[in-house]
Symmetry: C2
Subunit: 394 residues, 2 copies
């Protein structure tokens, strides 16, 4: 008799984006013709850069030709792309073998699938506020979850604590939703802690391309000792606008062995069993991101979002609101003024100035009283929203 995975019954319904959509819809129905300024969006708005478009068209043409057609790709990634990404890490001073790089459909796919590698009776530490899928993917696996809260006091960059020891530790830096970034000494403390307790860090580097401060690490493998206690999951979604095009990569060093099993070998076996590789077309498009011209073009797009960030940060500075992020991340995380709650501030901005953001409480209980602005919106929306915020709150 079939029995479902009953862990699904433990999932809580997330009403965050549903509630935002409902409240926004209701506002527009009551105020026909209202012009909303959207700073809630977690999706990019600029199209793919020319270098990627060119490569995608070329790859499609190859799939049209009997001579150049590509059938099944190697399950762990095309050698040309694994080599390109390994080489890209040299910029961070990180030396990787191409077979430590696995091409993926994106970070969100890997953050859950990677749990296949671990014993399900283990525990997982989630630093909150957090991307809600960290928690949900671990609930589906039936893992025990420890929630480590962070706050304004630690700049939303908490250090490890002996009260929160877990087998797996999710770290997202630059962080979604807070935009906060761990510096080298702080990340070293996490690496040392993981090694001391035999924990494994799952490092979500999806926003690394937004780092401009040269002292901040892009990869956990810039930290000494990380090769023996960390896996890194990255994506081209925000780096190069691949949210709807899909491509990412995962780094699993060969140094990770536990109970006589090697995680890199296990992931090879997982991918060869459970996938038939990633689309040749997308891998060709992804490789174009890492050419000299590709890098120049994606940096131009990132600069555009950074300019949005500056416009929002200037407004918040003007009205004296505390915030983190924005400088090395596409998100700005602010303290709601006048001790307002997250949803209270959401309603206030929507009703008073038609600005839509994201209530921090949706990313974990400790996000209550905080609010996320995204810098992925249009310039026009961003400028109008910033001016209206200053008028409303100064």
């Amino acid at each position: 008799m079939i029995k479902p995975n009953m862990n699904y019954a433990d999932l809580k319904d997330s009403y965050l984006f549903y509630n935002i959509a409902q409240k926004t819809k209701a506002y527009i129905e009551e105020h026909p013709g209202a012009n909303l300024h959207r700073l809630g969006i977690g999706d990019v708005s600029l199209p793919l850069c020319d270098e990627v478009i060119k490569a995608l068209h070329e790859a499609v043409d190859e799939q049209a030709s009997a001579e150049n057609f590509h059938g099944y790709m190697p399950e762990c990634g095309a050698p040309f792309l694994r080599e390109t990404i390994a080489k890209h890490y040299e910029k961070f001073g990180v030396s990787l073998s191409p077979d430590e790089v696995f091409v993926s459909s994106g970070a969100s796919d890997e953050l859950g699938d990677i749990l296949d590698l671990f014993d399900r009776d283990g525990s997982t530490l989630v630093i909150e506020p957090a991307y809600p899928a960290y928690v949900d993917a671990n609930i589906i696996e039936g893992r025990r979850i420890l929630h480590l809260p962070s706050s304004e006091k630690d700049g939303f960059l908490p250090g490890p604590s002996a009260d929160f020891v877990a087998d797996l530790i999710y770290i997202c830096s630059p962080n979604n939703p807070t935009g906060a970034v761990y510096d080298r000494p702080a990340l070293k403390r996490w690496v040392d802690f993981a090694k001391e307790h035999g924990s494994l860090i799952i490092f979500d580097a999806a926003y690394e391309a937004f780092i401009e401060d040269e002292s901040l690490p892009h990869s956990i493998f810039e930290i000494e000792g990380a090769r023996s206690c960390a896996i890194e999951i990255c994506s081209l979604s925000k780096t190069a606008g691949f949210t709807g095009t899909r491509l990412g990569y995962t780094v699993i060093p060969k140094d990770l062995s536990y109970c006589g099993m090697n995680l890199n070998d296990m992931w090879v076996r997982n991918r060869t069993t459970k996938t038939n590789g990633i689309s040749y077309i997308l891998q060709k498009g992804g490789a174009a991101v890492f050419t000299e011209e590709g890098q120049r073009q994606i940096k131009k797009n990132i600069s555009f979002y950074k300019e949005n960030a500056k416009i929002i940060m200037k407004a918040l500075d003007e009205v004296g609101i505390w915030y983190t992020g924005g400088k090395n991340a596409p998100y700005i995380w602010l303290k709601c003024p006048d001790n307002m709650g997250s949803w209270e501030f959401f309603d206030y901005l929507l009703n008073e100035i038609q600005v839509v953001g994201t209530p921090g409480e949706g990313f974990g209980a400790c996000g209550e009283g905080f609010f996320r602005f995204s810098t992925f919106g249009s310039r026009e929306d961003t400028e109008k929203a910033a001016a209206l915020i200053v008028d409303l709150l100064k």
Copy 2:
């Protein structure tokens, strides 16, 4: 202390394709300039059809334009494609709601991932010979596996047996590797058996497009009662040459509820947690397969492979070798002559006439003494191989 998923230690190394590659390589090294005739390949050789190529180029152009750019796609599939596929099922007399169709990266990805829905202490029935990933994906999950052997006597289409009752039942029809196809009455017996025992059928329909006999079912949902005991997993890999382009779909009827949990709802939750949807570009390309012109073009490609099948079947008929498949499937499964073993026959064909096939023993113990020819090769290779087989074995 991190503990790996120890089920990986129970995986057996598969030497099938590795051994084929090694033996072939050794032969070429000993016989420089030898011209091999490859009937072992499980990959398509014809390029994507024009209709798909056109759609892929158009989609890439949309990703280059600020006005038409597509970011994050709905996690369960773009509505346009879910609707198109649901409509496609009407041809089989199957009525589906679009939200019973989930767009995927391909069948191999889903055949393992779908196990996320079920309690891991359950059992799985695999009808052998079988696609090796069925077994391996279930070993990784730690499920108990029952191997149901088939044989020449039952035409490699065994019926259910009270000695083999399991929670999950994998059925692949048309079958890889045997090419055998269940007819309606035989499939009805499996559906009735599943309902009687509270089992769920995972129906792998990856080769349905090769069915030409109108009495044979393309979908398990053509069978009365299947909506309450089956999930269907399909792919465009063989249907439309998407092996290296990647796209598939999974049908989960809304009728599947167990212990108060609905599998369709659970899969929505799984996809929204563990993916960010499938590439817009690939979904546009996939939709083109289902247009009138797309269907005409892919059928032309399938006819080409069918012609290869006829050439091989004619040769086997001439030398009096027993086989199944070929008529409604891209594979031909034959009994090795003179009581040769699978690998013995492999060596014989390679050494005597430079024909490369696939030893049946690689698909499960009951495949010993059998051999698979694929019809996906070039016409030239197929014709030469067929002529050489007749000369050698008649």
